[in-house]
Every structure is written in structure tokens, then in C-alpha cells.
Symmetry: C2
Subunit: 246 residues, 2 copies
């Protein structure tokens, strides 16, 4: 006998799932359509990927579940970055309608714990469950439901800040990547450009980037060397990095 | 006529208020005593400083309110660092008793948004409202109520990480401070020691530390020069710092 799982009505998790496609940063969004009882579409708009937590579930388990449901992937970089609980966050017209139609009270506060996830878009087959989800370039995001524009903005801030202090850029790439691809990750997220030679110099100091005896395949240009991120080497050299920074 | 303010039952804010006394890092704790209806003390233990939010209040307003209530100060460094919502966080014996005695259901989940605050202990007169609060050296903290040991531990992690990347150490000192005092802040929080000359060299690169034409007063040793942190200079030189780090 399986136990009924009960959703908690006032604690939710929103995941800002960032996906990089070698060219730009994208975010996974869900199409939300409210169809009235007479079958007429009232409105259709976009939300981030999120859900309420189950009563017996931790918030990390909830975020993992949401990620798995949408991507089929279980081992994704995921980080809690900020919590959103403004009294106004559910008060836009469409959001009130949506909640009421769903049998919920839009005047009750719902707290949402924001996580961001990082992956290479090519790792995901979005169609695996037939959901109405899609990648949207972050630069092209317009109005989102609830306070999701704010959540996205704060996730971007957290991502930029983290990228400056910790090697997480490779999480947006396939397991094996080229240095040009890594440079592009930094350039896009930090909205800047680097001189190629200077960037290579910086990279040379990152001992946790392991060059492989392997090159790109099936590319039109001269194939570049592939690299791997080693968490083990990173953890070992981390102390050194901290001492350097202080 | 003032409007009745209603507390939200399931969203709370916990503040880890760190205070530095030139020698060690302390945290502000509250003595919680459960007295039964017959006047007998059932138990007494320690909690962090926290409270539920009011229905019309943002979480930052709630954190500011808690800080002001306890310290009488309005302009304190305050940062949201992590949210706590484990299904087990209210389930310890004393905590269940406490909640039941308070007319609340210990089986309902309460989400707590953690903030940490930084200040110099000398800025606060704890007795101003006659509360049962006190400074406890972080190293001497034993068992706290709820999941407050975990919240403290995560606040310390966030503080250490932030201190490595941003100039926040001076928030733990009086407005005017000496370089030895600043060095002590770094040493205590990062649990390390620095060679004095090396530390001075690093400090010399921090253009936002402004030397004053003023020295310590009333000290037994040779009075040292006083410094001031300038947010204006920091914001101006910040871009430079980021470029250096990348």
C-alpha cells in the first residue's frame, strides 16, 4: 500500500534551470494556460519550473524531484540561492485567477525557496514527458507569472557572483569541453569579453582543469583539445586558493 | 485606530546576530524557559533570535524588526543566507512541548528564513528592554533549540565565504578601527593566523580602507592609527576587483 503524499499549501520551491547551448544562456520555462470551465482559454503565459513541497519531503528533495520530472536527470548542479515571500508576490490578476481556479486562496502567503540549476541544454530531451516546457534565452524573457522575473534576476546575480569565486562554469558544458567553450560561458554570464591569451593564462592556473588526450570530433574548424573538470583536484587545491585570496 | 497585526503561523525568520568584541566572535542567544501552569519550570534552554512574520510584512522587514527589538539599532549589516524547512526541525521533545504550550501544532511545518547580522558587541546595550538575551562565544555554543545549531553552522559558513570575497569584516568593528583589529577579525572567523607584514601588504591594496588623521585613545600600548571603511570607494573600485578575479 502506498501512502498518499500530501502537498504543503504554503511552502513551494522554484527552480531556475539554466541551460547553456555553447552560444547563449537559456532558462527552462513552463507554458501555463488557464482554460475556463466552458473550454475557452482565458490566458496563457510563462512561469519558472516549480511546485509545492510534499509534507514529508525536504526542500532539496522537492527541488530534485522537480528537476527530475522535467529533465529526467538526477545528477544536476543545484543550489539554494534565495527565498521569496513578499506579501505581493501572488497578487497579479492572472495569478489570482490561476490560484482561485486551482481551489487555492490567493490571499494566503506562499513562501518560495529559489534554487538554480546548471546544465548543458544538450543533456536534456525536453519531450520525454510531453510537458509544455521550453528553453528561452535569458535575454528574451519578458513578463513571467508571479514574482518569477525577480526570482530569475536574483538567480542570475547569484550565478554571476558564484562564477567569480568558484569553478562552476563547466557545469553548463558537456563533461568534456574545450577552452573556447569555457571562455564563452564566462563571457556570456559576466557579459564581457576576454582576450583569448589572457584567458588561457588564467586557465593555466586552474589545476583542476585536466587536459585530455582527446580532441573535438565532427567540427568544421581545426579540432580543439578537450578538458575535464576534476572535483578531486579542486578540493585538494582549494585551501591554497583561499589562502591566496585572503 | 491601529490595525491589529496578525502573525503568519508558518513563516518565520531567524537572525544569527554575530557580535565581535575585539577578541572573539559571539552570537546573540535568547533564554527560553517553559513554566508549567502550576508555576514549575519544566526546562530552560537557548535559542537564536527569531520570530514569525506579520501577514503584511516582508521577510526583510521582519528581520529588521527582530534586530531593532533586541538591539535598538536600525542600521545593521543584515543578509539572507539560507532557508530551513526540514520536516524534522520542530520535533525535539522540548520544542514540541514549547509549541504545544504556545497553542501551536508541532506537526505543522514552519519554514524559517535565516539571516545573519554583523556588529561590534560594544554598539549594543542588551539590557535596553530587559529581555533574557546574552552574547555567547560561538565556540562555546552547546545544544540550541529547534534546528538552531544547524542554522548557526550554516551562517558561519556563509560568513566565512563572504569574508573571502567581500569587505565585510569591518562591519564587526566600531566605525573607526585599527588594522590590528581588522586582522583579528579575519583570523578569528577564518580560524587562521596571518603574518602581520603580509596582512598589511594585502590591506594596502584595499583602497576603500581610508586612513584617518586620528589615533586610538586610552590604550596602554602605543596608540595605532584609525581607519574607516568607505563604501563609496569600494563601489568605485569594485569593477576593477572583479576583472582582477576573473
Amino acid at each position: 500500500m502506498t501512502q498518499m503524499r500530501v502537498l504543503n499549501n504554503y511552502i513551494s520551491v522554484d527552480c531556475v534551470i539554466f541551460g547553456f547551448d555553447f552560444d547563449k544562456l537559456n532558462v527552462l520555462v513552463v507554458e501555463r494556460t488557464l482554460t475556463n470551465d466552458d473550454g475557452v482559454v482565458d490566458f496563457s503565459d510563462l512561469t519558472l519550473t516549480g511546485n509545492h513541497i510534499f509534507e514529508e519531503e525536504t526542500i532539496v528533495e522537492a527541488a530534485d524531484r522537480i528537476l527530475f520530472d522535467l529533465t529526467g536527470l538526477a545528477d544536476i548542479y543545484l543550489e539554494q540561492f534565495k527565498t521569496f515571500a513578499s506579501p505581493d508576490r501572488l497578487k497579479k490578476e492572472n495569478d489570482r485567477k490561476w490560484l482561485l481556479h486551482d481551489g487555492r486562496d490567493p490571499d494566503k502567503r506562499i513562501v518560495s525557496i529559489g534554487f538554480f540549476a546548471l546544465l548543458a541544454t544538450q543533456k536534456v530531451t525536453l519531450e520525454w514527458k510531453g510537458r509544455n516546457i521550453k528553453w528561452l534565452p535569458v535575454d528574451e524573457v519578458k513578463s513571467l507569472a508571479f514574482d518569477h522575473n525577480l526570482i530569475l534576476e536574483e538567480a542570475l546575480k547569484a550565478l554571476r557572483s558564484k562564477l567569480l569565486h568558484e569553478p562552476i562554469g563547466f557545469e553548463l558544458l558537456p563533461d568534456k569541453f574545450t577552452l573556447s567553450q569555457l571562455q564563452k560561458v564566462y563571457e556570456i554570464i559576466l557579459d564581457t569579453t576576454f582576450d583569448k591569451r589572457n584567458f588561457r593564462k588564467k586557465v593555466a592556473r586552474m589545476k583542476y582543469l585536466i587536459p585530455l588526450n582527446e580532441k573535438q570530433q565532427g567540427v568544421a574548424h581545426k579540432p580543439a583539445q578537450l578538458y575535464l573538470f576534476s572535483r578531486e583536484v579542486y578540493e585538494k587545491t582549494r585551501k591554497e586558493i583561499l589562502n591566496f585570496l585572503v
